[in-house]
Amino acid sequence: MKLSREVIHTEDKRKLQDISGEEILSCYQCGKCSAGCAMTSAMDLLPHQVIRLLQLGQVQEALDSKTIWVCASCLACSARCPRGMSLPNVMESLRSTFLRPGDRCLNPAEIPYELLEIVPEQALVAAFRKYT
């Protein structure tokens, strides 16, 4: 990867900061977020790796990761972050970048009927908030 000012400081990254309200460069990569994350078993990138990619301007690579859809917004990472960064806000800004043009990551028709019958309403409302 060849790094330059142009590669690192992109318009896409500025937008992520506007949506999330977080300063991505404030992270110093201690890894505490990833150490305490309950969802890492289903992630392809660890949370701190997503942040590192964004610091280096690699927004598309972060957008392509499974991690942003597996984050459950439980806030364990942000409650423990020594820099006070809310990673879930950053994850949501990445999801929003994908969803706002009208794409979706959850198709209601593809939710198995057996699950749909028993899952609490809260899960459906939350999932459609996060994935559509």
């Binding site: 078993s41 439980c74 806030l75 809260q122 999932a127």
Partner: protein
């Protein structure tokens, strides 16, 4: 003690036992939960995009409705608590957003309402000692794992009803009922939440960890105050009863409360639970637990 009450969407559908057990217990405890005249779904998750105020509309309407009722607002569901409290915080602190949202809903609201979880009423208003005196069917010696999950505790500065890393309100509550609270390291970990709807069920791995951890410390029951936590921890054990494995029922804390206050299954309403709670109470031989045996 009269409070405004926000049931939320799930308590009127898949989590009926959470509400019925609470309302019956409230009568015994002298607490009156008066349902808000106007309320709508809180949105189930607090929006994490700071440039979009629209998801704040629905919870702010509920808060404004509670202001008119003039009382503190009580929730049972952890998600409702989380969304309403965080929205209240934004309305109090962010004048810009307050102006925008209030202009849209045509209400005058600036964060006057206090949002409380029912556990706070039990702890701070009734008191666990007084609660213990009301218990007629103590769940003596029943090993119970308190599961907090995320929404009651985080973010601590806006929502937390207890210490975010070492909470004890549920354990203190369980002691008042005569239970034997089980200590285990996963009590504040996430269950996987709405990720359960993603293909491949990636939420089941964290849910299983919570259940296995509670089981390894001897828990016979897990209690929670979140319908989605209840579902995920229960769903993660699908088929285990049929396979003859050791399964742990997951119940709402108010279902244990109502059991200890002498109510039976018609009030506790375990319909929809995957691991049947009644059988476990029977198998551990808990004495005098109302209509559970």
């Amino acid at each position: 003690m009269v409070y405004s009450y926000f049931p939320g969407c799930t308590l009127r559908a898949k989590a009926k036992g959470f509400e019925s057990s609470t309302l019956a217990s409230c009568e015994v405890l002298g607490v009156c939960l008066e349902e808000l005249e106007e309320w709508q779904c809180c949105g189930a998750t607090f929006p994490l995009q700071i440039d979009n105020s629209f998801p704040l509309v629905s919870p702010t309407r509920t808060l404004a409705s509670a202001k008119k009722a003039g009382r503190e607002l009580v929730t049972l569901c952890s998600a409702c608590l989380n969304v309403l409290k965080r929205t209240n915080h934004v309305i109090r602190e962010d004048l810009d957003k307050r102006e925008k949202v209030c202009a849209f809903i045509e209400e005058d609201y600036s964060g006057e309402v206090e949002v409380l979880h029912f556990l706070e009423i039990l702890r701070d208003e009734i008191g666990f000692e007084a609660l213990a005196r009301k218990v007629v069917a103590p769940l003596s010696g029943l090993p119970v794992a308190a599961y907090y999950g995320c929404l009651l505790l985080r973010p601590p500065e806006e929502v937390g009803i207890d210490d975010p890393e070492a909470p004890k309100v549920l354990e203190d509550f369980l002691l008042a009922l005569g239970c034997d609270p089980v200590d285990y390291p996963y009590k504040t970990e996430c269950c996987g939440s709405y990720v359960v709807l993603q293909p491949g069920e990636p939420a089941m791995s964290p849910s299983r960890l919570v259940v296995e951890s509670a089981k390894s410390r001897g828990a016979k029951v897990i209690v929670t105050s979140c319908p989605l936590c209840q579902f995920n921890l229960d769903y993660a054990q699908s088929g285990s009863v049929e396979r003859g494995e050791n399964a742990v029922p997951v119940v709402y804390f108010t279902q244990l409360l109502a059991a200890a206050l002498g109510f039976g299954e018609e009030i506790l309403q375990f319909d929809g639970h995957i691991v049947p709670p009644g059988l476990i109470f029977q198998s551990v031989g808990v004495g005098g637990c109302g209509g559970l045996t």
